[in-house]
């Protein structure tokens, strides 16, 4: 059994960590947090130069053609550094959708640009409150024209193109949904930035009025593709969450060693030690679930749907748990804008919702486990 990343993959993780610690210190995150920039353009360019944006994109489409295990280790570092760039929307959602369902021409058009840092993409799925569901999609596609509104759309205000889920039928079945590619710089697209919990990852409302679109994948197969994209993105985002959870744990540990109260480091009080030990437990469980998700993702295993849901739930819980308790360990300091704790708290809680809430994934996990048991 070799249930671990290879030495080369670990080396790539170290490289990514080094690069991000230099190019993405908390100060850089704060530039976006404070609204001084929509995202960190220099960092985005740097990530492209490092080959990180196209690490899982095949060479024929301008990527490094490495694979998803490599993408997982980079994702972990992106989460750790809270990188304020449209990485998850572009790489986990848009690029994955293109690779799954795009025609050669579509891949040729967008993937090289993604890898080069010249195009930002996203998935426009949600239409207001609620979790992923074909029933919730009202936006219509008539011929090649889209009409309707999507929100929230991750990084929608800075994206160049979007994969849009639209209604093309009214039978009440999954087959009513189809996907479209839309150039967001084209006519008929109105973009409105929305304020959100985590300003380092923007959200937008996109209104389409007879917007020109081209089909992505066959008509009626949209929901199947979305489900697969969400599963794949769930694993990748889970690695970001584990990276964030680990960093929050480290911050709490370091502060507990440093801060003196009652004449001793607060890390010598059991109440504080046990909080930190429990953070370690949840981060460890999440990491192990993520590794399984990485294996399933990289091998396209039949277990991917179940593994993705488990990774998603576990990593979400761990990041939320570690981020909130990191604030707790910091006392009053943790509640200041100046300390970085709240940035992790914001990211943890925003990421927990992005692909659908935890309860959505809990439901999905149990469904998938039942199916497996029924099949066995």
């Amino acid at each position: 059994m070799n249930f671990d990343f290879s030495d080369e993959q670990k080396q790539m993780r170290d490289e990514a960590r080094k690069f991000l610690s230099e190019q993405c210190p908390p100060k850089a995150v704060r530039t976006v947090l404070d609204g001084k920039a929509a995202y960190d353009r220099d960092l985005w360019r740097g990530l492209a130069e490092m080959g990180f944006l196209g690490v899982a994109i095949p060479e024929q489409f301008g990527g490094a053609g490495a694979g998803h295990l490599e993408l997982c280790v980079i994702a972990e570092e992106m989460g750790r550094a809270l990188a304020p760039v449209p990485f998850s929307s572009t790489v986990y959602l848009a690029a994955e959708a293109l690779m799954l369902a795009g025609s050669d021409a579509q891949k040729q058009k967008w993937l090289p640009k993604i890898a080069a840092g010249e195009a930002i993409g996203t998935l426009a799925l949600f239409e207001g409150k609620g979790n992923p569901s074909p029933k919730a999609i009202k936006l219509t596609a008539a011929g090649a024209a889209l009409n309707g509104t999507k929100k929230p759309v991750p990084d929608g205000a800075i994206a160049d193109f979007a994969v849009v889920a639209a209604r093309t039928g009214s039978t009440g079945r999954d087959a009513d949904i189809s996907l479209f590619l839309v150039d967001l710089k084209g006519s008929g697209v109105e973009v409105k930035e929305l304020t959100n919990l985590d300003p380092t990852r923007g959200q937008a409302e996109l209104t389409f009025t007879n917007a020109k679109a081209e089909p992505l994948g066959a008509t009626g197969e949209g929901w199947g593709i979305i489900t697969q994209v969400l599963d794949r993105a769930a694993v990748l985002l889970a690695f970001e969450q584990v990276g964030g959870a680990d960093r929050a744990l480290e911050m709490g540990r370091d502060y507990a060693l440093d801060r003196i109260a009652f004449g001793r480091p607060i890390g010598s009080f059991q109440a504080v030690k046990h909080i930190l030990a429990d953070m370690y437990v949840s981060a460890t469980l999440a990491r192990s679930n993520c590794y399984y998700g990485a294996w399933a993702l990289s091998t396209n295993a039949a277990e991917l749907p179940e593994a993705a849901a488990a990774a998603r739930i576990s990593a979400t819980q761990a990041f939320q748990h570690c981020a909130k308790n990191n604030i707790q360990v910091h006392g009053g300091m943790g509640f200041t804008w100046e300390f970085d704790c709240h940035m992790y708290y914001r990211r943890a809680n925003a990421t927990a919702l992005g692909l659908g809430s935890v309860s959505y994934w809990e439901d999905a996990l149990i469904d998938r486990m039942r199916k497996k048991n029924a099949a066995a």
């Binding site: 070799n2 249930f3 671990d4 010598s268 590794y291 990289s298 488990a310 309860s359 149990i366």
Partner: protein, 414 residues
Amino acid sequence: MNFDDTPEEAAFRAEARKWVEANAPKEYEAELSRSSLGRIRLEKAEIVDVGKAWQKKKAEAGWACLHWPKEYGGRGASPIEKVIWQQEEGIYGKLTQPFQIGEGMCGPTVMAYGSEEHKRRYLPKLASGEEIWCQLFSEPAGGSDVAGLRTRAEKQGDNWIINGQKIWTSGAHYSDYGLLITRTDPNVPKHKGLTMFFLDMKSKGVEVRPIKQANSMQEFNEVYFTDVVIPDSQRLGAVGDGWNVSLTTLMNERMSIGARLATGFPEMFEFCSNLMTEDGLAIDDPAVRSKLASWAVKTSGLKYTSYRAISSLSKGERPGPENSIGKLVAGTMLQDIATYAMDLEGAAGALTGASEEVASGQFQQMLLTSPSMRIAGGTDEILRNIIAERVLGLPGDIRVDKDVPFNKIPTKGR
């Protein structure tokens, strides 16, 4: 990243599987599969008898304590081969419960500190299950704080005279030998005055008194020592070095990888999949699903954490500290699952009579037994301290008794 065996591992697994297939006591398969807590009661036989027969068969074919050297009853298997064996032994591994303390703790301590003669005399019989060993550490005055123990050992010529009491000794009532930690010098700080021995449980002056447990079973005991004589040759490690020797024992206890930790989750999933409520199947209820999902990811998290450790072993590396979380997670989960399973049954969940029992009473048994999982082998709080100090590097507790001679430590008159 893969879950595949190396060719050597695959060959070893095939051999193990073939042997288990041909030799396992299949008549207990059903009962063993049903019991989830590791503490098993067989309908028509004593677990110790069935276990001894199985262990003996294993030993004859070289599958008992297989990671031990040949001359001490094993086959010199690698750590990863031991894990593969455990996987293949599967539910029949539950039969080895009476030998686990011997194999996991007493044996390794004898291996590290015993004389060559002792190793050849005692280890093979321990491995084959012919002789059972128990661990005589905890006392009324010291469980978590083992070093607070008071059982005295006084030198008399070539012998030591033991007086005192141990408590919570699992299996003492059927054990042949015991690993005993004693105080040999009360005038020095408590960790410095300890010495380790092993002794014959049939020695004159040893009295074993069973303790009835909260779950109504009877597996642990009080053990009294009145002028018990142990020859100096049965001392393990130097006089006064007992604390370090005990760390070998406890380290082995905590490092057992791929250990069969029950979480209760598979049973709970099946239970919820079949339980009819007024509103339909329990598993269709969103509240139930949410709970199940949280337990599911803890269970898979533990499984893949152990896979990570196994992968290190497979590469010949030492596993990291991840595995220290197992018992901490599983103990609480068992307790929560049992509570919730009964909650789903409403008032009837409290019934334990054979005919009314929900899911043949396994959750009631789990409820009553699970508290011990959070205590035995290191309490939840001690495990959190260990993670905080050894893994995260936080400061140790302030120890008020560390540098004080043992006999000057306040005792509240007890």
